[in-house]
């Protein structure tokens, strides 16, 4: 395989299996962003798309994107993860910090209110799993810990400033003493 073919396969792997986690010393193809894990134990590879080839182009074209079950709750849980994990919103969104899942649920509750507690937990869990399945968050269900996933690195600088505003408008998670 030539280098060209290697690059091709990296793009295809990302498409077929989501963001790729590789050993830190691995060679990586041109045009991919390297996201180093906080402990430098591994690296995520995420393709960098030029501005006018990103998913938000669909809106301009009036085309539908990938369908998401429970889109609103899923977006709210992602926002809650962002609020809890992105401890320094002035800085980059990756790698951010791990947060207890219960904290995320508490923020989710605060932005949805008045729901039956069980229904609320079920909705949060469904959304967290969905987000984890697509690489937007990393969710350790046994340890009940949530982190932001590699896909968050695909938000552009302009998009991150919108998210900072959202971050500020959301209730702060109650930190344990």
């Amino acid at each position: 395989m030539t280098t060209d073919d290697d690059t091709t396969l990296w793009w295809a792997r990302y498409r077929a299996a989501g963001p790729q986690r590789v050993a830190p010393a691995s060679a990586y193809p041109a045009g991919m962003t390297r996201l180093v894990e906080p402990d430098a134990s591994a690296v995520w590879l995420l393709p960098a798309l030029p501005d006018n080839a990103r998913p938000d182009v669909l809106d301009e074209l009036g085309l539908a994107g990938v369908a998401v079950d429970q889109p609103n709750d899923t977006a709210r849980v992602l926002a809650a993860c962002l609020r809890c994990c992105w401890t320094e919103p002035s800085g980059p969104v990756w790698p951010a910090a791990p947060a207890p899942y219960d904290q995320v649920v508490a923020v989710f509750r605060a932005v949805t209110g008045n729901r039956d507690e069980r229904a609320l937990h079920a909705a949060a869990m469904g959304a967290a799993r969905r987000l984890a399945g697509a690489g937007w968050v990393l969710f350790d269900e046994d340890a009940r810990v949530v982190r932001l996933g590699p896909r968050v690195a695909s938000w552009s600088a302009a998009e991150l400033s919108t998210l900072r505003e959202l971050w500020r408008s959301m209730p702060a998670p109650e930190r344990e003493a």
């Binding site: 060209d4 690059t7 091709t8 396969l9 793009w11 295809a12 792997r13 498409r15 077929a16 299996a17 989501g18 041109a30 045009g31 960098a48 030029p50 006018n52 080839a53 990103r54 998913p55 182009v57 669909l58 301009e60 074209l61 085309l63 539908a64 994107g65 990938v66 369908a67 998401v68 079950d69 469904g126 969905r130 399945g133 697509a134």
Partner: protein
């Protein structure tokens, strides 16, 4: 140099924008896109540049019907990824998807109810066929259906035409199946026949043709396929 730089370097700004927009529409969109909607699909010259870009990413243009386009994995890349096991779907996900394809495509075909060569269909698979009448572990089917829905491989059938919403949901193959290239669609048909009726003369005929077909895939056809779209 990124793939985009390399492939699009020689294009003028307008063509570059058209190719990028079409790339985004095909790669990120839920459904195939109408040829009339985008210049890069309408104009054969620009479409060739789009195909070159997709090709470098392991993808290719896939024609849907006579008026729409989407993108999917190149056949040689599919073979490579499948051999590596680079996939987002678990075994039970795939088993459930196969059941939906049997009920929504294969059986209506045997009944003469559908034509065309698509793996999508308007014939719903009742959820009972998935949960009650199969050998799959019942508890794993719902999560599998959720994951398949997230990947666009199945979708919930519209309630229209069903007697009451309490009949329970029914499933259809999802829009992601449009992304199968023509050779992949045919291969899927053969794999299904081999699995469902391994002793049938049809299966024997498929097996008899296999070595030749495998050799054809292994032969590098790269230079010719970059320049043209294979699926028209």
């Amino acid at each position: 140099m990124t793939i985009f730089d390399t492939v699009l370097a020689d294009l003028n700004e307008r063509h570059r924008d058209e190719v990028m927009a079409a790339f985004a529409a095909l790669e990120h969109g839920r459904e195939p896109v109408a040829e009339a909607q985008l210049l890069a699909l309408r104009d054969a010259t620009v479409r060739r540049d789009l195909q070159r870009l997709l090709f470098r990413m392991g993808r290719t243009l896939v024609r849907v019907g006579s008026t729409h386009w989407t993108s999917g994995f190149r056949d040689d890349v599919t073979a490579q990824l499948a051999a590596e096991g680079a996939t987002a779907q678990s075994r039970v996900d795939r088993a459930v998807l196969v059941l939906v394809l049997i009920h929504s495509v294969a059986i209506p075909r045997s009944q003469g109810l559908i034509g065309g060569d698509s793996w999508t269909s308007g014939h719903p698979t009742p959820v009972d066929e998935l949960t009650r009448y199969t050998q799959l572990p019942r508890g794993e089917i719902r999560p599998a259906l959720q994951r398949l829905r997230a990947a666009g491989l199945v979708q919930i059938a519209p309630a229209r035409g069903r007697a009451a919403p309490t009949d329970g949901p029914a499933y259809l193959p999802g829009p992601a199946l449009h992304r199968l290239t023509k050779p992949a669609r045919e291969r899927l048909e053969h794999e299904l026949i081999l699995a469902a009726a391994p002793d049938s003369p049809l299966a024997a005929a498929i097996r008899a043709r296999r070595p030749a077909a495998a050799a054809a895939v292994a032969t590098p056809t790269r230079t010719s396929t970059t320049e043209r779209n294979e699926d028209t």
